[in-house]
């Protein structure tokens, strides 16, 4: 293949840039511990009301500052749509949809996950500052999609 010296230089530079990017991601995952959501099991959306834990949505105290918030997403609300925890809590959100695809994005944190019928979604967030943390449905789920939100109150 006949190419210019300049072209060779670009090609090497471009490769280095990408390698650097991958290293950054690896540091984020391995050192800073930022991960993407992993599979947490399957569930039948038509039978959510009789399937634990989704038969009893709400906040559970797991002890030691840890909580689990079980949320059901349906057009167009989260159930429950507000939880309250003390400062310093770590909350694992466990979500499932009873109808179409929804989303869960907790503003100001790394918690971001799709809520897809048939799958259980799980993300964790730590609350070190008091205040209100808004969460929104961030996948189009029909006519009232923009009305679907909730919040974590941290005291």
């Amino acid at each position: 293949m006949r190419i210019e010296t300049y072209e060779r230089i670009f090609m090497v530079l471009a490769g280095l840039m990408l390698a650097l990017g991958i290293v950054g991601i690896a540091i984020g995952a391995l050192v800073a511990g930022v991960h993407v959501p992993s599979p947490a099991g399957r569930v039948d959306p038509r039978a959510l009301s009789t399937t634990p834990p989704f038969d009893q949505p709400g906040l559970r105290d797991l002890g030691g500052g840890k909580y689990e918030a079980v949320l059901v997403a349906r057009a167009w609300q989260f159930q429950p749509n507000e939880i309250e925890v003390p400062v310093g809590s770590t909350v694992t959100f466990t979500l499932a949809s009873s109808d179409v695809i929804h989303g869960f994005e907790l503003t100001g944190t790394n918690a971001n996950v799709m809520v897809i019928p048939g799958q259980i979604s799980q993300v964790t967030a730590r609350f070190d500052q008091p205040g209100e943390y808004l969460w929104v449905c961030h996948e189009y789920c029909g006519f009232g999609h923009h009305q679907m939100y909730g919040k974590v109150v941290v005291r």
Partner: protein, 562 residues
């Protein structure tokens, strides 16, 4: 001289310049597809105004006779992401193939078929969407129900591109029979590679619509698996962005250098870039699904690597296209490190639009790397950061380049001089300023947590996200883009209706190489081989995923929520 040139031009524009190469029966379907694309841009772009103003609480969809914000957003997505891009791609790449191979397309039937299927698909999908029977956005995720006409319409649009793909492959074959043992001409080759990539990429959506969605909507299947449907959708859904982009790359590599008086460095490198795009575009879909709950993490990591690989040819493009531009600028007397930039023909609207499109693409690419970066994606996924990003890529790098191309293409096809050149220049700059404000607004709002695909103007949580100023930037920038779009259509209609006849038939501007095809090793011309490599990479990226994912979890009946 001019006495003979005139009647020629009247007979059908510049295209008659090469008798026996540009056939009238192949040119009309090409023009027809271009017209459909531009109608898509006009109507889809108008919806953009409604969406941009919605950010600041100006809710006008009722004034546009829409049932909801989301009906308008569906029109925007379907017309711009499918009709505009497919129509333009089919028309432009077919024409470049004729010019590149210096022969007619292998099949007149296929090129006319591409036009008719595109027209039929557009009408069916438009009917379903306008009746509010398909307000499912351009991603139509199950289990949301839409009219079967909508799926049929979308499928026909894809069929139209596949007919074009087949025609291009046959045309290359015919050329090879006529020129044994020669390298295929680059301008033809890159178009064929684009469509061969797309043929491999479209498989996901074809399987999704034919084997899952249509039978399910028609009631033959009671339930479907939404997570698996999404895997099929995004199998196509990432590669499609390269299908949008590659026609713009064809122009950047092989047309713009000529327009600025520069040369392309080497035939081999351009081929290498397109081949890398062919093999790496498809096995990357999972990076749209980093936060999907049902996908094994190890597969997400595999797709992270393939995604970074497909960024590589775009980085190389950034360097080499810049080098070709510099070559042109220096040939025009540019001096010093950056002096060549001012010597480029900025007064030519076709050039200015495409140079600005390239500039914006640098920012578009950089934000794209953020989305692709696995854990960084947690912060931006499905926030307005994403539309901020892709209005700089498909919404500008592609759209503004296509606009710039039409500034010579429409005179070429119509035989009429471009009218309103200053207006056209203003159009390009207005779009550039508009998209920068728009993207700045969307990106910053997204980082604060504003969701995308949401009628923010009607959302009760609007004031809980402190993105007030950012949303104003989006609204103002978006409005400027729409005004720019209006200027564009004024220029085009003015040209078509009142443009002076060209005195002489036009030539398609095609760049020269420093190192031409003769110096290219045969390996870089072996399409079948590289296609096979692409298939193998797809198998590596998807077969383990299917094995880990199966059995299907078909639990969802169709649900109508709009």
């Amino acid at each position: 001289m001019s006495a003979t040139a005139r009647p020629q031009a009247v007979a059908g524009g510049g295209a008659v310049a090469r008798e026996g190469v540009f056939l009238a029966e192949q040119l009309w379907p090409i023009k027809g597809q271009l017209a459909l694309a531009l109608i898509g841009l006009a109507v889809g772009g108008l919806m953009g105004l409604m969406q941009a103003l919605d950010r600041v609480g100006i809710v006008i969809y009722k004034g546009l006779l829409l049932q909801s914000y989301y009906q308008g957003l569906t029109i925007h997505g379907v017309l711009l992401a499918f009709l505009f891009t497919f129509g333009f791609g089919n028309a432009f790449v077919s024409l470049m193939a004729i010019r590149g191979f210096e022969r007619p397309l292998a099949s007149t039937f296929l090129v006319q078929g591409a036009f008719w299927t595109m027209l039929a698909g557009t009408l069916l999908a438009a009917y379903a969407i306008l009746r509010n029977q398909a307000t499912v956005l351009f991603t139509f995720y199950a289990p949301m129900r839409a009219s079967s006409l909508f799926y049929l319409g979308a499928a026909l649009l894809v069929v139209s591109t596949l007919l074009t793909a087949l025609n291009l492959v046959l045309t290359r074959r015919a050329w090879q029979r006529e020129h044994p043992a020669e390298r295929t001409p680059l301008l033809g080759f890159v178009g064929v590679v684009t469509y061969v990539m797309w043929a491999l990429a479209s498989l996901g959506v074809v399987v999704l619509v034919v084997f899952f969605l249509l039978p399910w909507q028609l009631g033959w299947l009671k339930t479907t698996d939404p997570q698996f449907n999404r895997i099929l959708f995004w199998y196509t859904g990432h590669a499609i962005v390269y299908f949008w982009l590659m026609p713009a790359y064809i122009s950047w590599y092989l047309i713009v250098p000529r327009q600025v008086g520069g040369r392309v460095f080497s035939d081999s490198l351009v081929r290498l870039v397109f081949i890398l795009l062919l093999i790496f575009s498809v096995p990357t879909g999972l990076h749209h699904q980093y936060v999907d709950p049902g996908i094994p993490t190890v597969m997400k990591v595999v797709h992270l690597f393939t995604t970074f690989s497909v960024v590589y040819p775009s980085l190389v493009t950034a360097f080499t296209v810049m080098a070709a531009l510099e070559d042109g600028g220096r040939a025009r007397g540019g001096r010093g490190l950056l002096g060549w930039i001012w010597k480029l023909p900025w007064g030519d609207p076709s050039v200015a639009a495409q140079l600005l499109a390239m500039l914006v693409f640098i920012l578009g690419g950089a934000t794209g790397i953020v989305n692709a970066s696995y854990n960084l994606n947690n912060v931006v996924h499905n926030t307005s950061f994403i539309p901020g990003h892709f209005h700089m890529t498909v919404g500008t790098a592609v759209a503004l380049s296509f606009i710039g191309i039409t500034y010579w293409l429409i005179p070429y096809l119509s035989g009429r001089e471009l009218m309103g050149r200053r207006l056209a220049l203003a159009q390009a700059w207005l779009w550039f300023v508009g998209v920068l404000l728009f993207a700045r607004g969307q990106i910053a709002a997204g980082l604060l947590g504003e969701p995308r695909r949401s009628s923010i103007g009607e959302a009760p949580y609007r004031d809980l996200i402190s993105a007030g100023l950012d949303n104003w930037l989006t609204a103002i920038g978006g409005t400027l883009m729409v005004i720019s779009g209006a200027l564009y259509f004024i220029v085009i209609l003015w040209t078509l209706l009142a443009g002076r006849r060209l005195a002489q038939p036009m030539e398609i501007p095609v760049a020269e190489m420093r190192f031409g095809a003769r110096e290219t090793a045969p390996l870089w011309d072996r399409l079948g081989f590289w296609f096979l490599v692409g298939v193998i990479l797809v198998a590596i990226a998807y077969i383990p995923l299917f094995v880990l994912y199966l059995p299907l979890n078909s639990v969802s009946p169709p649900i109508k929520v709009y």
